[in-house]
């Protein structure tokens, strides 16, 4: 699974980051790279079977504690 992820992100790197580098859009490039790093970390964790915490339950608890049910 992780191999697939690495291949997919390598392709993304070639087709997404290089055009921005060539156009010298540094701000866009930095932001895209940071977002890409975040997404790569997330998918790597998911592919190793790590459970990412969801905000759905905390939001539900807050809402129920305010409004009750």
């Amino acid at each position: 699974m992780i191999i697939l992820v690495v291949i997919a992100y390598s392709l993304l790197f070639i087709f997404e980051f290089f055009p921005l580098y060539n156009q010298k859009q540094w701000r866009d490039l930095w932001l895209t790279m940071i977002l890409g790093l975040c997404s790569f970390t997330l998918i790597a964790l998911l592919s190793f079977g790590v459970k990412i915490p969801s905000p759905a339950m905390p939001i539900k608890n807050v809402i129920l504690s305010i409004f009750g049910k």
């Binding site: 977002l35 969801s54 939001i59 809402i63």
Partner: protein
């Protein structure tokens, strides 16, 4: 850069498909049982003042998106805080819609395919559409809506033999309270969700276009949603709230002359188009918000990364379909209330004051 522009007709089609996106399949309300159609009407009327407010904000600042308006009205710092809030809302909403789609396909059509794959396919299409721009999304909406109308009307006509109109009785059998609660649920999902479109309707033609688009779009979509809800009730009766996808189950019962059967696929077609447009708009708005936040030249360079993050978020947001349905009907109306009512109200008041002060300033200088 060339300014993107969509016609009023395209925007109306877009808003109709946006509304029927996920509410068409999930239903508008889980509380008021066979009075859900009244809740739908109530929700539409509750949403009317809010929609006028959204349209007013847009018409005060023509050719500006929601994010430009925040900075113009509140200045850099507070404006950026508002931008952040609406980036989160549109990002979250987009993820929830993608998850609805994933659960639907996983439950009714492809139970053995991993949910991640079905959601990935939708997200890729959304990313391509958003990269092409709002004009393309507008044109897709305008060309697809007649097909969706045809499908919906034909299916309603076909379902007439299965209808039992005594299922809508007793009207208000449990009193008015569940209906009002259901109306609130219908208000926040789907009608007031159109606050997200304030980020996409920077491309309307005239100052009066937002009013026209919001009014006509909401009335048509509202009538459509109410008819669909009524159809599900008169086919399934009170049990219709017990299904995850009542519309799908109601249509699956249609059988004409033993050869027109299994036409529930048509429901999937409508749903898939609806979800595609809705999640594309959410992706577009959150990308535009991020681009505005970081002063990027164009939002297109980050669409793919935001789309991928949205996909991962939608994958991790719920553990099961039970959690999804419970969250959508019990928690979501309260969670979305600040984004749909309180913040727009603050923005509306601040925008009115700002515009009037500017006008006075101009008059004094003359």
């Amino acid at each position: 850069m060339r300014r993107e522009q969509i016609t009023d007709k395209q925007a109306i089609c877009l808003i109709i498909i946006f509304y029927i996106g996920s509410s068409f399949i999930l239903g508008v309300d889980g509380e008021s049982k066979n009075d859900a159609w009244i809740s739908g009407i109530l929700g539409m009327f509750m949403a009317a003042p809010m929609l006028f407010m959204y349209a007013r904000i847009l018409s005060l600042f023509p050719e500006k998106s929601m994010f430009d308006i925040f900075e113009l009205v509140f200045g850099k710092t507070i404006g950026k805080a508002f931008i952040l809030i609406y980036i989160w809302y549109s990002f979250h909403l987009g993820a929830l819609v993608i998850r609805n789609y994933g659960e639907f396909i996983n439950t009714v059509a492809m139970p053995e395919t991993p949910i991640f794959i079905t959601m990935l396919v939708l997200t890729v299409v959304c990313m391509l559409a958003v990269r092409s721009g709002i004009e393309v999304i507008g044109r897709i909406s305008a060309s697809v809506l007649p097909i969706l109308f045809f499908i919906i009307t034909t299916v309603i006509l076909m379902s007439i033999p299965k209808m039992n109109f005594h299922f809508i009785k007793p009207i208000l059998g449990d009193g008015i309270l569940p209906v009002v609660k259901g109306g609130f649920s219908a208000f926040s999902f789907p009608f007031a969700e159109s606050v997200v479109l304030m980020g996409g309707f920077f491309s309307l033609k005239t100052k009066k276009s937002p009013y026209k688009v919001y009014l006509i779009g909401t009335v048509i979509a509202g009538i459509l949603i109410i008819i669909i809800t009524l159809r599900s009730i008169v086919i399934l009766g009170e049990t219709f709230t017990k299904f995850y996808f009542p519309t799908y189950v109601a249509v699956s019962m249609i059988s004409l002359g033993d050869f027109i059967q299994r036409i529930e696929l048509t429901v999937s077609v409508v749903f898939v188009f609806g979800v595609f447009i809705k999640s594309s708009m959410c992706l577009l708005v959150s990308s535009k918000g991020i681009a505005k936040l970081f002063n990027l030249q164009d939002y297109r360079s980050i669409v793919i990364q935001v789309g991928i993050l949205m996909l991962y978020f939608s994958y991790t947001v719920y553990d099961s379909i039970m959690e999804m349905k419970g969250w959508a009907f019990i928690v979501y109306p309260y969670y979305a209330f600040p984004f749909q009512v309180i913040f727009p109200l603050i923005i509306f008041m601040a925008a009115e004051i700002k515009v009037r002060r500017n006008k006075k300033g101009d008059e004094n200088s003359i």
